[in-house]
Symmetry: C2
Subunit: 327 residues, 2 copies
């Protein structure tokens, strides 16, 4: 029997889940839940059951795992704990400072409902977090480095769009190649924020807007841009759509550590992702963990988990005998 | 209280464990077990308790985890099942074709003894296996590629040493750069054995030996060299010792996979290791899994496991609250 997946929220991530389910023969799409009028939601493939979020409580016997596809700022902190009482759930909550609080909220409701939840799934937090933990445990004396990009940062793009006179914008986070190479060399460099990443902004100005003032506002924005070497390029809406319309992303986690009687040997562990579509790849990670949540719940292991609590075998559709082939 | 580690077998791996324990504040070295006369074994650090392997049964209350440091060919298939009855054990068994059989043997004795065993730990099998499984589960449509090197292959070096007229030898396995780049490009190339790796042999000939015949014997050796582009360089023993005396190694696991409504997006997952000392790094992995075996046994989870069965959090010395910081 297939694992019946529900999609809660139908944006880029929800669409990625819709596509990804078709690549997993042990899964099927049970329903998409939306806060919009379901009749206005056009899914990618035909025959998808689109349902009002108001009716979600009526699907308990039709869905094995609900994948929460809302945003971390306001949706998931409310939706995931609410849904974990009714369904096994997966989310990609990525507000790092609030993960412990979110975990506690979800754990409480999941345990009440006898359900299994896995939060903060994706690639960072997610696969990058896993690699930081594995690498730390293996090389206790060393240093971790994470580089993001080149890729679109939605948060930084949104920050630019809020500036007066800006019609649209895209922001790329870009690692500094010399910093990456210094880490790969094993020299354990101390790197400031500015030394690790640059920020490239492509901005569409409204008619008559003061471009010099916009550029100045971007470059001096605290937290987002002030600590970085930032470039601002003004483009037309058409140029933005044609040349910066995709959602590619990349990233690298590195650990440089030492071993030996005199710590004379250096080792570099490097994990990297090059993604044509950030939301589709994130969706693929969520689906693998949906399988794990399903298996864990069948085994009676309820409550909230993170990727650290899930044995790798749980992610695979293969039997134990076939999994040994990966060794 | 510290995790008390026993080392069974004192070669390169055992020495790596001896050094590695000092980098893990939650561990201590209880004893080294050797089949040699203990008085002839000189450990790297002073004050190490070296004991005859014949006395290993007397240490049940002094050791929490025994790390098996023998060879996969003849030692581990016998030693690990025998020891798993008495101790939680970790080994690095790497004869891929016999892992299922070894697993069954160890599982039986570990369960009889109420102990926890984790087999085939290291980097391949081990960390590379983990990455193959994670990447497969996340990108179901795609292809895995593993490249080894540049690094010393002990098995291939031994095969050369068995040739008549050879005094000593070292063999490097080297990935073909064009093959690695083709995979990174996302083109999903079909690669033959010859297209993936070359083999570089450094050979010390005995006085008066026929070098042309030795070179021919190496290059035509089935399984080991015949399917590869192989170079043979004759050197003096001094040159071999000075220039090829270390045990560095490297390797890469790549997965190239696709997502999207029309599978139009390509993603590359890459995991790589650059190791100054292969045995010391492998020892470091074994120690992290020794911690996991200790925790699993405390939790009553007995029998044989592989790296696929061990939740990442089990490897870390950190508390649950601190582990969340990796997210």
């Amino acid at each position: 029997m297939s694992i019946r997946i529900g999609i809660f929220g139908y944006g880029n991530l929800g669409k990625g889940i819709e596509c990804g389910i078709r690549q997993n023969p042990d899964m099927e799409l049970a329903a998409v839940f939306t806060r919009r009028d379901p009749s206005t939601v056009k899914t990618i493939f035909e025959g998808v059951n689109v349902v009002s979020a108001d009716d979600v409580e009526n699907y308990a016997d039709k869905i094995d795992v609900m994948i929460m596809c809302g945003g971390s700022a306001t949706d998931l902190p409310v939706q995931t704990p609410a849904m974990a009482k009714l369904y096994n759930v997966i989310d990609s909550f990525d507000t790092h400072a609030r993960i412990a609080e979110h975990f506690a909220n979800v754990d409480k409701t999941a345990k009440e409902g006898g359900k299994t939840a896995i939060i903060s799934v994706g690639w960072d937090p997610g696969l990058f977090s896993l690699n930081r933990l594995y690498a730390d445990a293996i090389l206790p004396e060393g240093q971790n480095y994470t580089f993001w990009g080149k890729g679109i940062s939605q948060g930084h793009s949104d920050a630019i769009r809020r500036i007066d006179g800006v019609a649209d914008a895209r922001q790329y986070t870009v690692p500094v190649p010399e910093a990456v190479e210094a880490v790969r060399s094993g020299s354990n460099p101390e790197l400031t924020t500015r030394m690790k990443h640059t920020r490239e902004c492509y901005v569409v100005a409204k008619d008559g807007a003061d471009k010099a003032r916009i550029e100045q506002e971007i470059k001096s924005m605290p937290n987002y841009f002030a600590d970085y070497d930032t470039t601002v390029t003004f483009v037309t809406q058409q140029e933005l759509d044609e040349n910066h319309g995709g959602l590619p992303h990349q990233g690298i986690v590195l650990r440089s550590g030492c071993t030996g009687a005199n710590k004379e040997h250096t080792h570099i562990i490097e994990y990297s992702l090059k993604l044509d579509s950030n939301p589709e790849f994130t969706s693929s990670v969520l689906l693998a963990y949906a399988r794990a949540a399903y298996k864990l719940n069948k085994a009676g292991d309820t409550g909230c988990k993170t990727v650290f609590d899930v044995a790798p075998a749980m992610l695979s559709p293969k039997s134990s005998a076939d999994i040994v082939q990966y060794l």
